[in-house]
Structures are given as C-alpha cells and as structure tokens.
Symmetry: C2
Amino acid sequence: MPDTLMLSIDAMGGDDAPDIVIRGVEYFLSHAGKNRKIRFLLHGDEAQIEALLAKAPLAKQRSEIIHTETVVAMDAKPSHALRRGKGTSMWNAIASIKTGQARIAVSAGNTGALMAISKLQLRMKEGVQRPAIAAIWPRPVGNAIVLDVGANIDCDETQLCEFAVLGEAYFRALYQKENPTVGLLNIGTEELKGNATVRATHERLNTLDFGLDYQGYVEGGDISVGDIDVIVTDGFTGNIALKTAEGTAKLVGGFVKEALAGNWLSRMLSSLNAVALLKMKKRMDPRNVNGGVFLGLNGIVVKSHGGTDHIGYANALNVAANLAESNFEAEIEKTLAALHDAELDLEMTAEI
Amino acid sequence: MPDTLMLSIDAMGGDDAPDIVIRGVEYFLSHAGKNRKIRFLLHGDEAQIEALLAKAPLAKQRSEIIHTETVVAMDAKPSHALRRGKGTSMWNAIASIKTGQARIAVSAGNTGALMAISKLQLRMKEGVQRPAIAAIWPRPVGNAIVLDVGANIDCDETQLCEFAVLGEAYFRALYQKENPTVGLLNIGTEELKGNATVRATHERLNTLDFGLDYQGYVEGGDISVGDIDVIVTDGFTGNIALKTAEGTAKLVGGFVKEALAGNWLSRMLSSLNAVALLKMKKRMDPRNVNGGVFLGLNGIVVKSHGGTDHIGYANALNVAANLAESNFEAEIEKTLAALHDAELDLEMTAEI
C-alpha cells in the first residue's frame, strides 16, 4: 500500500457535475475516507471547481485541480468520444492512471464513452479479451457481484470464464473473503438447460482446475438470495437483469408507500413508525451499491451512476479506494494465468 | 361465446395436486367464476378426486372426472414425457382440447413436459414457428405482459415479431384494451444498442405496417413502470428478467419485514398498522399474477405455477376463462396474417 493514494476524478462527468462530485469528495472525506491517506486529482473547469471547493474544506485540502476546457457529453456516442474526446476531463482522468500519477479513476460520465476511452488508453490486461462492467448487487446480508452488466453484448465461453476470474478477484478485494463462490446465470439449474455458450462455459468452469469455487448454474431469482457471491453472465442479460431488479425495487417501494399512506390511520402510524421505515429505506438505498467497476484493463476505472447524489458518489469513491488498497490486480493476474494454463492443458490433451 | 364453457384440468399436476387443484376450482367458483357458465373436465385419479370433491360442493356440481392411472412427474424430462406421457392426466387434459370436448386446458405440472405434449398434440398455429410462454407482470396500475419467458432459448427476428403479435392479442383479450402498446426489451433505447437480432426485430416492427402500436425499445427498468403493455424478448432473457424480478420483490419484502420488526416500537406499530401492510402484501402477492399462457398453438393452454396454492390456482383458472370468452384466437390469426403479408411484401420488394 503506497503512503498516499491518489484518485483521479472526472469532475465534470455526471448529471449534476461538478457540484455532486465535489460534494461527494467532501462527504467521503468526512465519512468512509476519514483518516485515510487519500488525495484527489480533479480534472475539470478550474473556475467552477474552485468555487465549489470554497464550500468543501476537506476536499480543498486534499485536491489538486487540473484544468480542462471541454467535457464528454452525457449522450455522446463512444465513437465520437474517441475521436473528439482528447483533452476532456474524462480523457485526462484516465490519462492520469496511464502516466502513473494516480492509482485509480472515477467518473459519473457517459458509460459507453468512458469504456471506449479507458480501453484505448489503458489497453486490455494481458490474457483478457474484453473488459467487463461489474455491478454490486444487494442481498439479505452483504452484497453480491454481477458481471458483465453492459460492456459486451455477445460473449463466448472464453470471455465468460475470464469474467468469472475477474469477478472473483474483485469480490475478494472488496469484501476480503478468501474463497468467494461463483455461479453462472441460466434459466434453470439442470445440466441441459441454457444456450450453447452457457453450457460450454459451465462445462469449462466445472472441468478446469484453476482455483475458483464454481457452484454451477444460478437462476435469476437466486441472485438476490445470497448463496452465490459472484454471478457471471453476458452483458446483454446482465444489463437487463440489473435494470429489471432496480425497476422492481422501485415498484415494490411504491406499493409499500401507497399501502402505508392508504388512510388516516396508516398515515398516522407510519409517521410514528418513521424509524423502521427509514431503516428499510436505507437498506434499499441504491446509493449504497453505487460504483460499477471496469475489470480487465491495465488500471482500475470506477463508474458512478450519472444521476446519483453526493452520497452515492462518495460510495463510488469508497469502492475505488478499497480496490486501490487491495492486492486486486496481482490476484487477477495470478488466477488468469491459472485459467489460461488450464485451458492450454485442455487443448493439448485434446489434440493428441 | 358458447352457452357453457368447458375447461380441461390436469388435476394431478402441481406440487400439492390434486388437493390445491380441487380447492382452486372451488375457490374460483365462489369468487371470479361465480355466475359464469363454466364446467370442468377433471383428469386424474378418480378416487382421490372424488374424496376431495366431497368437500367442494360447487366444484362437484360442475365437474366430470376422467380417470387416469398415471401422471407426468414434476421433474420428468420433456423427451421422456413425450415418449411415455400417453394416458397421463396431463396428456389427456390436452387431448380434450384437441377433440373439442373442452375449450382450454389448465395444468400446474412440469412446464417443459406440458409444452412438449401441447406442441405434439395441438400443433403450431399456421404461420407461427414456435410457441411462446407469456407471463403477467405487475405494474403500479394494472399488469403488463412479457413474452417469451422460457419456451425459446434462441429466437430470430421472425419469431420475435410473431411474439409481438401473439402478446398484443393476448393483452387485448385479457384486459380489453383496444390498442395495447408494444415494446422490445433491450439494453438501451438508442437505435444502435443491442445485438443483431434485437436490432433487426426493431427495424422490422418499425417498418412493417400490420396494426401494432410499436413504441420501440424498453429497458429492464421500464417493465415495471407501466408505459408499455406488451414487452417482447427471447425466452432466455425473459426468463431471467422474470425470475430476477421475483427474487428482488422477495428481497425487498424481506427488508420491509425486517425493518418493521426491528424493535418493540416498530413491532407494536406494525401490528397496529396491519391493515396497510396487508394491503401491500396483497398488491405484491404473486398469486395475483399466476397463470402463464402458451401462445401460438391451435388451442389455449394455461400453465399455473407448480407451487401455488388454491387461490393462485383459481387465478390461473380465471385467466383461462377470460381467454376462452374472448375473441383471442381469431384476433391472433388476423394480426398474424397481416404480419406475414407485410413480410412477404417486403421480401418481394427486396428481390426486384
């Protein structure tokens, strides 16, 4: 662990940036980041950031502003961001990891653009075909990790096995669990269920011995149950599962609210029962699971939800800091090497 | 509408069959089925059913038992059910639609076996490549329909367009809405998002003029919101979305319960507030949306959850009765013909 951890921040990314970004840094430094040796490179409009830092004394003390004139629009196409993104706050935030000035980058900007810019500048880790986005998923106790949730539409079995490795190392780093369990998302738990890619991945994860605690198939309903720590799927299915879960949580939350506001008696009792409801709201708060991570690049990039507030942003910063302070990248490399050795051995055997 | 509607029931299908089946028929006849001219063909073990009918006077009066010796096991493989299923309660329940004795069949048995047996006996409706399973999805107001939720792992654009037609006709029949809106499940709402099949389906639904109110892409989070009535997707994605939503609802329900049971004060207030909580529970009750329908066959088959109770089963019977009393099949044929005409015109133009 280095003496002081440097985080590179795209201060202009996000719906309400740079406001929520600076307030997020301040909130982080007074909560989870308290007493941790962390500094910030804030990439963005100097005048705007300066003005905000005047109201954020902790952030001001720990930050250095690197002025940029331009930003990547929230609706910019990835191709456009690649061609025209040079010199934007997002571009420079990633560049700071490449140059070694910072350990990790955080942005609440446009996901597609951030992925494209990150891939171009940082390049894939050796032995990884495509990066994945990992999401934190709430469970009754603790969280699970689901990946990919949107970086790769079509995935083959080699990629899905790599996702298993990336996700497992990520879970270990984030929650300090020795042997997280790994599962493969499918439409049933029987051997014969699923499409050809899912079955081939299952076969490979079951056969190859590279140190993962692979538990087999999990169904959509099992993600929230909590037996499996890392759930592997392609980016199309993962994205739809993640957003469906968010939509369902909102729907159910609405039913609860509606029920408790139903008549004068429930309204009165609900107001008396505010403590319990607050507790529930806190458990369901999407800000607590804010911070998707791009896995498989030479360098760590954390993506915050674009529409989060300062508390959600602070949570993304905490995810970034925890990762930076872990052995995450070394562990990924170790398990990836074991996976590729096992795959090679399998191929060699098959050819004889 | 015929004078008396005949429903064909697989009385032995389901975790607690025939008990919950007979109690479900009784419950239906004293609630949603009250004053409706409906009769039942109960396929199954005569002795067991007779004993149960002794405690179910309404059901007894409206039922005829057709004795079968064997049943399809809840864990039987579809191939096994096809080879060995003849003479089971499930097989005979479907046969009764084929022979015209009944209008519609209901089973809470093994989904894969029921689909295989239904396809073999009833055959696909002309112009439909593969049947789909449609699920009822709760929304803030009313329900949506999502299909396919598990019958087809890999789907091409022709199938997905057919699902749009089947789902739209189903929604109209179930909820008597003139022009239900149709959406295509994807990982974003921009034109360029998604895999090749999704984009090709979008293009086709946008271009072809066959009378659907197609609204474009919807994301996972939009299903529960309520703007789109019919959501089209392949069976892999749809199954995972459905089960993920069920799992999330359970998780959130658990958080609510936990929060309200947190301390003596919340416990006391919660017990005082039981009416509101009961109301919420009712809104979230999965029994209210029980009853998946196999669409695209020559005949209607309604699949109840295997683990439901008599109230859930009664809801599946209500779905079946509503469909049978509607113009559902004629409407499907009309819109399917329009779809295929439009596709033909497109091909002809392309060849010139």
